[in-house]
């Protein structure tokens, strides 16, 4: 008995891509709705992440400003008004952000920072993480921005503040609570994203069961059908999550800018963190879209053609 039946050829990926692009073009409106499903999910996730980052940043910034104000008032309590006066600056080692900003505050207050003391100098300011090697001579006030170092010849104060144990404990508790709350919110927003994207992908595949059945009757291989849906879902995921991330970030920034003022929000924006969130959200969008398409696409590609033709979704 001669075997006259051959194997169906496997179509190259380029043809699958062509079919997908054609499909997206033809059903542009419907594709847009599916993409919007992904956009909404990812935008929600991204706006939550960005708001968390902005809130943290704003809180840190507010605490920093309060601290700088306190340091300034400590200093002026000893020296009197510093406008028009000069401060001798000794850098013992590397300075941190707080010290840099404090120096900026001093300049903004009208003080000049000098290397060698003159008649306008009201105090010597010691900044940096190192130790003071030579104690400057003279009866001038020595101000340390960090822990006060023992000196014999000069009056010395520290602008740093040591937290009381109960205060430290309170802060640690508050930080822990905030962390738990933000993890909870992120988990919830991830869930919303997963459900939103799965729903969009499920709908877009199941409503095409009949079409899939027709294609199978005309000789499409199951692998080809699966390929089509995977390409389509990853494209939808990519476009949707890029748009969604941008949208979510913008919305979060606008809302916080309206609440706290634009300057504070922009100053508090952690750019490095946002880039990581961005990459994470886009990856999540693509992966979720593909995962959500696996079940219906596999189911559809395995359907007996005659059954698929009858299905009415």
């Amino acid at each position: 008995m001669s075997r006259t039946i051959q194997e169906q050829i496997k179509l190259p990926l380029a043809i699958a891509l062509e079919v997908v692009l054609q499909g997206i073009r033809i059903r542009f409106g419907r594709s847009l709705v599916t993409i919007m499903g992904v956009v909404l999910g990812i935008a929600f996730l991204m706006s939550i992440l960005t708001s968390q980052a902005i809130k943290d940043g704003v809180q840190t910034e507010a605490a920093m400003r309060a601290e700088l104000k306190r340091m300034l008032s400590f200093l002026t309590a000893e020296t009197g008004a510093i406008r028009g006066k000069s401060l001798r600056l000794i850098a013992a080692g590397a300075t941190d952000v707080r010290e840099d900003r404090f120096l900026a505050v001093l300049r903004a207050e009208g003080a000049t920072l000098v290397d060698v003391a003159d008649e306008q100098t009201v105090a010597t300011l010691v900044v940096g993480d190192g130790r003071l090697t030579t104690v400057p001579a003279g009866q001038q006030l020595l101000c340390f921005t960090r822990r006060e170092q023992a000196t014999s010849e000069a009056r010395a104060i520290s602008l740093d503040r040591e937290l009381q144990p109960d205060e430290q404990e309170r802060l640690a508790r508050a930080a822990h609570r905030a962390r738990v709350r933000s993890i909870w919110i992120i988990v919830i927003s991830l869930l919303v994203t997963v459900i939103g994207i799965s729903n969009a992908m499920l709908m877009s595949v199941t409503e095409r069961f009949r079409e899939i059945g027709t294609m199978k009757c005309l000789g499409a291989l199951s692998a080809f059908i699966r390929q089509i849906f995977f390409i389509e879902s990853s494209l939808v995921g990519l476009v949707g999550s890029i748009v969604g991330s941008v949208l979510g970030t913008l919305v979060a920034i606008l809302i916080y800018a309206a609440t706290y003022g634009f300057g504070l929000v922009v100053g508090a924006l952690p750019v490095g963190g946002l880039v990581i969130y961005f990459a994470g959200s886009i990856l999540a969008g693509i992966v979720l879209s593909i995962v959500a398409a696996i079940y219906p696409a596999t189911f559809a590609s395995r359907m007996v053609p005659a059954h698929a033709l009858r299905s009415n979704v």
Partner: protein, 258 residues
Amino acid sequence: MPVDSAKLQALFEPPAAEGRSCVIRAVDVKKIYQMGEVQTHALRGATLDIYKGEYLSIMGPSGSGKSTLFNMIGALAKPSAGKVYIDQVDIAQLDHNELAWLRCRKIGYIFQTFNLIQVMTCLENVSLPMSFAGMDSEAAREKAVYILKLVGLGHRLLHKPTELSGGQQQRVAIARSLANSPEIILADEPTGNLDLRTGEEMIELLAMLKEKLGVTIVSATHDLKMLKRSDRILWIEDGRIVRNARPNEVDFSSGDFH
């Protein structure tokens, strides 16, 4: 053990009769649909031979199992029991690759409900099976245009099925069935939605394919003109083949046909 000798004979008899080769053979095909607790016997053991180059019409009231029989002999679904041979190969032995090849190259389907892809134009619908067969898109387009002109839709190439009348959609479905120059055309009520003149044109087209190219045509129909043109008529009732006759042996003026 009681042996059904007719069945046994059908299973082992070489599938060549009347000096012609048998292109489709169904032996005691049964199909049971399970709907929850209820079992529906759509086919209760249909046995038939379809010869190469023959124009076979199948008649039967609705619900008699016609469409199920079409699905079985067209390799679109597996029978619950019994065997279907296409070109003397048991299709139960074929893997999904070979089945896809069979559906793509060997058989052209014309469905009762057309099953055109709604979002594609006529041209795309007709050229789709050609791209599944690996034809390059330019050649496929050219051939699709030619076939659509053949069924009288040369002026509707870029219309979508929803923009066409039922008869026009049916003609697109006919055009699509011809896409890969199949050896067998399975047509479920191919003239059901056509006006008298187009119906006749389509019958002529199918007859011409049969005469000139030796295409085997199997159609479910109540169309008298089609029945008269066919080589053989089978009657199916309640899931069984009950009668087999040539058109000249049939009295078309009897009440069964009106």
